[in-house]
Symmetry: C2
Subunit: 409 residues, 2 copies
């Protein structure tokens, strides 16, 4: 046998592995874990609002009464009572679906990966907002997706530019209509209808990603794209929608559970479940049963009002601080909900280049270019306002303002 053997693994990676690039931004943001750092980089919920006591009660109850079930293997589709709970919520919103339209996933990131797996052939084009959610690009890059972009303004995706993009022939449209990640903007009702209308005309389906829809701090709730679409489509009592809807327990309960769901036509749910079986068999039975126990008697609705109060205060703190500390020429969005706002600096700035210096000042953000599949948006950045207390938000924005002013000077 040889004495100096090399592992041959490195010569054996698949073609798709070449397309999976280490996220430079995640490397940069690793330093933000230092305790004196004020990070607006992540998308973390406030730990202050985690319902720890309810989880404790639920864990004790389900282990006491369902120990053999919660620790055992479960079905790929998900825990039936949890799916029924989601179903009731969907039906309350007016969406005409049944339990066969609902799949539990291990976080929304898994739903994005499964969608890539069942829909994307290498070279397929996906129509996305620009900027759009980083994690979707990361999931779909591995399947060789290419992107067609439609820009976003303060009312969400600019649907006037949608038709030209649809003619290029995307596989599907990916949209975050409520308090979009990263910009915080919300798609107007008129544009929702226009989106549905155009998608239908060109025969292109829609993936609606809605992690924050219930986290609204001002203004009126907007109907989901899926709801508007489904109102036109129920035939013989069966939902045959043109929309795949994603949402999650990460922002309304706790991200540590990795629990999310998909609502889609029966045929799509079957394919997703089949793909999921090969990916992780099923989502943790324990977490599903605990989440159902915590959520079943209306707790989540009550808890959301607590989250709204806390996050509204933090959003306001960030908007006030920006007003106070930002130099002339800096603009930002004023989101009505969600976790993020979007800052645009004067054209000559490059937020990726600036980040290491800014981190020296013990504050961090995510540079905007990472949310643009075409690498544009170099003078933009995403700020998270859910994770830090109002005091730390004030201090962090002051630090950011000082760093920008230094740069201008």
């Amino acid at each position: 046998m040889h004495t100096k053997m090399q592992t041959p693994w490195e010569y054996r990676y698949s073609q798709r592995t070449q397309r999976m690039k280490a996220s430079a931004i995640r490397e940069l943001l690793k330093v933000t874990e230092q305790p004196d750092m004020i990070s607006f980089g992540g998308g973390f919920p406030a730990p202050d609002v985690f319902p720890v006591e309810e989880f404790k009660k639920a864990c004790n109850y389900v282990l006491e009464h369902k120990g053999a079930e919660v620790l055992q293997y479960g079905g790929t589709d998900g825990y039936v009572p949890l799916r029924e709970m989601i179903l009731r919520h969907a039906i309350n919103l007016g969406i005409n679906v049944d339990i066969g339209n609902i799949l539990i996933t291990s976080g929304s990131q898994q739903a994005l990966d499964l969608l890539g797996k069942i829909f994307i052939n290498r070279g397929d084009r996906i129509l996305v907002e620009s900027p759009t959610y980083l994690g979707a690009l990361q999931a779909w890059n591995a399947y060789g997706a290419e992107y067609i972009t439609v820009p976003v303004d303060e009312y969400g995706m600019i649907t006037e530019k949608l038709e030209a993009a649809l003619r290029i022939g995307p596989k599907f449209i990916y949209v975050l209509p409520n308090f979009q990640n990263p910009t915080g903007t919300t798609l107007s009702l008129e544009r929702r209808k226009k989106l549905i209308h155009l998608a239908d005309r060109y025969g292109v389906p829609i993936v609606e990603d809605d992690p924050y829809g219930q986290l609204r701090y001002e203004g009126e709730s907007m109907p989901a794209v899926e709801l508007l679409d489904s109102q036109m489509r129920v035939q013989n009592g069966t939902y045959t929608g043109n929309v795949i809807y994603l949402s999650t327990f990460s922002k309304i309960l706790a991200p540590g559970l990795r629990l999310a769901w998909v609502i889609a036509p029966h045929g799509v749910i079957s394919k997703l479940a089949l793909a999921k079986q090969g990916c992780d068999l099923h989502t943790s039975t324990f977490n599903q049963i605990v989440a159902h126990e915590v959520g079943q008697h209306g707790f989540i609705d009550r808890h959301i009002t607590v989250i709204q109060k806390v996050y509204r205060e933090r959003r306001n703190a960030m908007l006030d601080s920006l007003e106070e500390h930002m130099p002339e020429g800096v603009k930002w969005t004023r989101p009505h909900g969600g976790l993020f706002l979007w800052v645009t600096l004067p054209e000559q700035f490059d937020t990726t280049e600036m980040l290491p210096e800014v981190i020296q000042e013990k504050v961090a953000y995510v540079p905007g270019e990472f949310f643009h599949p075409d690498g544009s948006g170099k003078n933009t950045m995403r700020l998270n306002f859910s994770f830090c207390s109002p005091e730390r938000i004030n201090e962090g924005i002051a630090r950011l303002g000082r760093a920008f002013k230094k740069k201008i000077a």
Copy 2:
């Protein structure tokens, strides 16, 4: 807008979706959830041995003291103290690795999927035992894998036939050396060495799947293929092995947690983590911290002796019942550990064809052909002995014996 719209989803599935077939066997086995059914079909641990009290204590403790951490997002690589616990175990076994060699996955099924993602191009050949684990085939079919098979006898993969298979040029070798799923057989020490030697000569790496290694009910422990391989390969203190090792908490703690791990060279772990980030961001923080809390003070080692006692009794019950109830011409393996044994009927039998009739008798198994990538093994079946009590095992095997005798008559 049209009044009769069709959802276009079904025309948009990816090529790989065509290769993901609904598992006929899972459909068949759904009926085995009826309470009067005795199922030897699944691979379920005995719920009787789930350490429910320890989980209750651990949940209370970690929610009380680490509530903000356990419910929050975590790193993709996994919870550091849990990886350190796995590391200590590996080092105790003599494997020279560090924490950068360890990745937490959402069950071993996810590890199989991630391996497919980073290594398998469509048409790549994977060398597998015949029969082999169903879930690996399911994971890799989605990536367009083809298979080269090497048969198994009572000492595991027949390594005399390995060299000819290696010349075909497999991407990697997949092997379950201990109490193999489905046959229950264990790869002999001599064959382990032969496997490592030939894999090295042909430059082909090995994936060692070891979910049951610690569940031995008789005989001496066998060194892991990874250990034997690594003893030859440590250079300048860095592990540069030719083996990727998979194991899981599903069989030694609880499958409902979906917690498993991979030990591999640093470069491979980086690629797997990158792929995992796009698949589900990370494995549930809550479950990782709870498992660490339950496992950290040697509990798992103590618990394994409890499991061994219960499963040894059940294996013995099944072997005794087979002796008593099986007609002439039926053969079976005598596993020294694990969850399964393998039954071979006379040539003319077709266990898939027989299953619906057998289910009428309120007993079930998994037909052997599903574990054969080439569709052979029609007269074989897998029986699980971990899930049912000895009394139900006796009754179930008696039913099976009656069904077979009827078939012969």
